[in-house]
Amino acid sequence: MSPRGARADTAGVARFLAVRLLRFATLLAGVSVLAFALVLNSPVDPIQAYIGADVNISDEQLARLREYWGLDGSPVERYFAWASAMAEGNLGVSTLYKAPVAAVIGERFWASFALMGAAWMFSGVIGYALGVVAAFHRGRLADRIITGYSYALSSTPAFWLGIVFLAVFAVWLGWFPVGLAGPHGVPAEEVTLTQRLRHFALPVATLSLIGVANIAMHTRERMTDVLHSDYVLFARARGELNRSVFWNHGLRNSIVPAITLQFAYFAELFGGSVLAETVFSYPGLGSTLTAAALGGDVPLLLGIVLISSAFVFAGNTVADLINAAIDPRVRTSP
């Protein structure tokens, strides 16, 4: 590449990055407006709920707090009062847990992170492998089984799969405990790694299995394209067998779309984890979200909505960046 071309390319990348980051910021602002507007129209007042946790509050303090939060202002003023508190990291106090929202979320974040991270890895690897096998055997028995299985999975209610796993593996076979992150009544510090893993297995299995279908079917399509390309035809003419066709051509032409797809899958992953965590009473963000919404805990609800949306937008942005890094056409198109 000529130096001039390289410079133009760098400028293009910088512009692309700036546009993507700006979009990320506006989307996050959009979610906060949307969420705030929705909660404002709900039976519970969002700012009233911040002080709801504290009952021993004098009228004078209440009046000062109302003034501080701008409770008597217009919805727009109230939004900005709330948003600036959010931006400073003050997420308010959870009415359900009587603790700062940031602390409640922080406590449960890692449990959810481990669950979703493991499911994300497993579903990605297994789904990709199944997609590759299906494409190489397109139209034959292995393909039919994998395709049928993916179709059935994508029509399976995630929470029902969790219930089936519980009924079969925990109740009937007794291989795994019924729920929670550790044995009941044992302090968190004393739970051993093996116990933790045993409690972790079924929720992860549920969430991973649900995620397999999407990536398997997309990889199958992509790999079929690759296998019908002229360069693979030429490789086969040279005498390359399936194994080397895969390592030399198939993998590098299909792994990036698969990874991109997995990053774009964050939104579904969050939804699935809400259901899996609720079924298995797993103490993560998902089950806490359900509890917050059912219990009218507005600050906690808003906090989790914002955090999870930020995660999904970040995932989508990473997917865009990977796409752009690999395929220059994405970068240069406006």
Partner: protein, 284 residues
């Protein structure tokens, strides 16, 4: 969605010509059976009867009975009918939104198109289930919460397709002539573009239906849908949880499997309709 033309493969060559008709007939029969069953089955199965608590499946109770002695078959059929009704309403609403926004984005000024695409990004980014929970929280659960929550989170993919299709037609000869004759954009959208977008919208509607039904069941299961007395699949399962965990497998198996079959048959029908509409897209 990739625009790559996929070459004819062994599977495509063996594609059975009657597959679409078969799928249509099967799904139609299923819908008819559920609708008829929900009308014909009287309320007797829904009243509790302590004498027949937690009976395993038998000839009298094909799907067994629950912890209050209610007939699970009646409850499942009524639940599926409810799911389909909600699904129909929600998918229709969502399809209308997709059509209007998709065509409007393609026809209107660039800033409007950008605004729509930002909105699409926004709604794609919000985790759907979490947003639905937020809506259900605001609206206060029940049918309005479910319909509104699911409809607002399912229009994006179809709107993108309609927008892309309409953009290709925007500069077609007949549209130019119509514009030259002084017809308004609304007239062009209604008389020229909507009829052409209709097949796409119809397929989108059928493909949306399974997602809608699954999300309704999930929301109901989490406790944001109907009142506990309503026989909805999500409620049957959440109510049955403690009893499923003590070994009454039929409480989990039948509601889940019938829902899976219903959803699957609609998903397959949608795929076959789509591949009929656009032969480049292979069926699975």
């Amino acid at each position: 969605m990739s625009a790559v033309t996929i070459p004819v493969t062994a599977t495509d060559a063996r594609r059975r010509p009657g597959a679409l008709a078969l799928s249509l007939a099967g799904t139609g029969a299923l819908v008819a059976a559920i609708a008829a069953g929900s009308v014909l089955l009287d309320g007797a199965g829904l009243t509790s009867n302590i004498a027949s608590r937690l009976l395993p499946p038998s000839l009298e109770h094909p799907f067994g009975t629950d912890h209050l002695g209610r007939d699970m078959f009646t409850r499942v059929v009524k639940g599926l009918a409810l799911s389909m009704g909600i699904g129909l309403l929600t998918a229709l609403l969502s399809t209308v939104v997709s059509g209007i926004l998709g065509i409007a984005a393609a026809l209107a000024a660039r800033w409007f198109d950008n605004a729509i695409s930002w909105l699409i990004d926004l709604f794609i980014g919000i985790p759907h289930l979490i947003f639905m929970i937020l809506i259900a929280f605001t609206v206060g659960g029940g049918i309005p919460g479910i319909v509104l929550g699911i409809a607002t989170t399912h229009w994006m993919a179809l709107a993108l397709l309609v927008r892309a299709d309409t953009k290709q037609l925007r500069d077609a000869g007949f549209v130019k002539v119509s514009r030259g004759l002084g017809k308004s954009p609304l007239f062009i959208a209604r008389k020229h573009l909507l009829p052409l977008a209709f097949p796409q919208l119809m397929v989108g509607f059928v493909l949306m239906f399974p997602h809608v039904v699954l999300h309704e069941a999930a929301l109901t299961f989490l406790g944001f849908g109907f009142s506990p007395q309503t026989p909805a699949i999500g409620i049957l399962l959440s109510e049955g949880m403690p009893h499923i965990l003590s070994g009454n497998w039929w409480l989990a198996a039948f509601p889940g499997l019938t829902l899976l079959l219903t959803v699957l048959s609609f998903a397959r029908l949608g795929d076959r309709l789509r591949s009929r509409l656009d032969p480049r897209i292979p069926i699975g």
